[in-house]
Structure formats: structure tokens, C-alpha cells
């Protein structure tokens, strides 16, 4: 009973609570409170980014052990003439790759996903380079390095091994020295 009358000027606390709940901040302090809330939001964003960095760190720890790549027969050397290509998926079914024989007879294989926006690259035999038709990104057929265009990274190279006439994919070399 006494609590009900304890508000200022004898107003019941219950009625003060209603307007105080609706207008909890004085108008003069509004800008301050908005900035404080925004700072809180920024700090939470900072936490999110630290978590992102943590996720990358955990992924890199997992990758340090080295993924075990399967061996996959991707074709026969005798079937590929100079400038010819063969598509295959390696190491998983969702990883398209391109195998080709260059004019000098050398066999090479790379991931077919452009490192820019994942368009499919193709081997331009006449110009002896890998080309992405979407944004004209060109890659070297020797090591996959970027020759021109927007791709930020070289193409991952597929390490090949010969077993007689068979061409076997044995690993993905995604580490590129600058």
C-alpha cells in the first residue's frame, strides 16, 4: 500500500512505470544512448570478426595434417593429342578439373574453377594458356599463375603421375609461392 504511494508528488508508482517504460530515456540523452548502443553493436561485430579469424585458424590446423588425396586414373596418355583436353573431377565429384596436353607434349592438369568467381576455365591451345571467359582472366599452363585479369590467386594444380600409359591424379597443389 505504501509502495503504491511512494512515487513523486504522491503519484502511484504503477502509473509512473507505464510512461517510464515507454519513454525510458530523456530526450536530451538520446544521442548519447544511441551512440552507446551503436558502440555496443560495433563491439559485437568485432567479436564476430575475431570468431571468423578463429575459424580460419582452426581450418588451417586441420589442413596442417594434410588431406589424404585419393589416387584417380584420369585417362591414357596415348589418347591425348597435342592441344586436346579431358575433363575429370578430383578429389571429389564437385571439383571439376581439366587435363590437357600442351604443344610441347607436356601433360598438365588444373582445377577448372577460376579463382575469381569460379567460372569454368578452358585451355586455349593456340595461345597456350588457360582462359576464363567470364572476365578474361588468363592463367599460365606451367604453374597456374595469373597472367592477366582479376583472379586473385593462381589455379590449383593437380599433381599427376604416370603409371605406364595411365595418367593418375595424386594430389592437389594449392599452395602457391608468391
Amino acid at each position: 500500500m505504501d509502495d503504491d504511494r511512494s512515487g513523486v508528488a504522491g503519484r502511484p508508482r504503477s502509473s509512473e512505470g507505464i510512461w517510464r517504460e515507454e519513454f525510458s530515456v530523456d530526450s536530451a540523452e538520446d544521442a548519447y544512448v544511441q551512440r552507446r548502443q551503436f558502440t555496443k553493436f560495433l563491439v559485437l561485430t568485432s567479436l564476430g570478426m575475431a570468431c571468423g579469424n578463429g575459424w580460419i585458424w582452426l581450418r588451417s590446423l586441420a589442413a596442417k595434417n594434410g588431406p589424404a588425396y585419393p589416387e584417380l586414373v584420369v585417362g591414357r596418355a596415348s589418347e591425348l593429342a597435342d592441344g586436346q583436353v579431358r575433363m575429370f573431377s578430383y578429389p571429389g565429384p564437385e571439383d571439376p578439373c581439366i587435363l590437357f596436353r600442351r604443344a610441347n607434349g607436356e601433360l598438365a592438369a588444373f582445377s577448372q574453377k577460376c579463382t575469381h568467381l569460379s567460372c569454368a576455365v578452358y585451355y586455349a591451345a593456340g595461345r597456350d594458356r588457360l582462359e576464363c571467359p567470364c572476365h578474361e582472366g588468363f592463367f599460365s599452363p606451367e604453374d597456374g599463375r595469373v597472367l592477366q585479369g582479376p583472379p586473385p590467386r593462381p589455379l590449383p594444380r593437380i599433381r599427376l603421375s604416370r603409371r605406364g600409359d595411365q595418367i593418375v591424379a595424386v594430389a592437389v597443389e594449392d599452395k602457391v609461392e608468391p
Partner: protein
């Protein structure tokens, strides 16, 4: 609260907010650079980048905590504000 103190508080929160924004921009750059590096196969940078990012977050948190502490100390050193409103509901 008098206008001078209000201005000081707004200056403090503004300074803290500016510092947090600058730190956040650094952290954004760090995250994108680390991701780019990781995708290029350079896994060695991930651990130091995470440590720096965590330190930046702790710094941001410390700035925010400082603002909150200033706020609390101000509230406790002043008399409680009037709870009376500009009007009352259900009262004559």
C-alpha cells in the same frame, strides 16, 4: 545533468566510438587478408592473425567497458533522477 557534463559524456562516447570504428576497419582488413592468404595455401598466418584479431576485440571490449564504467560512476555519484513524468496516466 548539466549541459557541460552532457557534452563531456558525449565527447567520451564519441571518442570511444571512433576508436572502435578504426579498430574494426583494421580487423576487417585483417580478416580478408587472412582469408585470402589461407585460400592461397599459406596457413602459417592464421594463428598470429587470430591472436591479433582477438587482441583487437578485447581492446574494443575494454573501450566499451570503460564507457559503461564512466556511465555507472556518473549515475551513482548523482542523485537519482526524478521519476515523475510530464503527465500521468489514469490520474486527474
Amino acid at each position: 545533468m548539466n549541459p557541460l557534463e552532457r557534452r563531456r559524456r558525449q565527447g567520451a562516447i564519441g571518442a570511444a566510438m571512433s576508436c572502435v570504428i578504426v579498430l574494426l576497419i583494421v580487423q576487417m582488413w585483417l580478416l580478408t587478408a587472412t582469408l585470402e592468404s589461407y585460400l592461397a595455401g599459406h596457413h602459417g598466418v592464421a594463428a598470429p592473425a587470430f591472436a591479433v584479431s582477438l587482441a583487437v576485440f578485447l581492446l574494443c571490449g575494454a573501450l566499451y567497458a570503460l564507457v559503461m564504467r564512466l556511465d555507472r560512476s556518473r549515475s551513482s555519484s548523482h542523485a537519482p533522477r526524478s521519476t515523475s513524468g510530464p503527465w500521468t496516466i489514469g490520474q486527474q
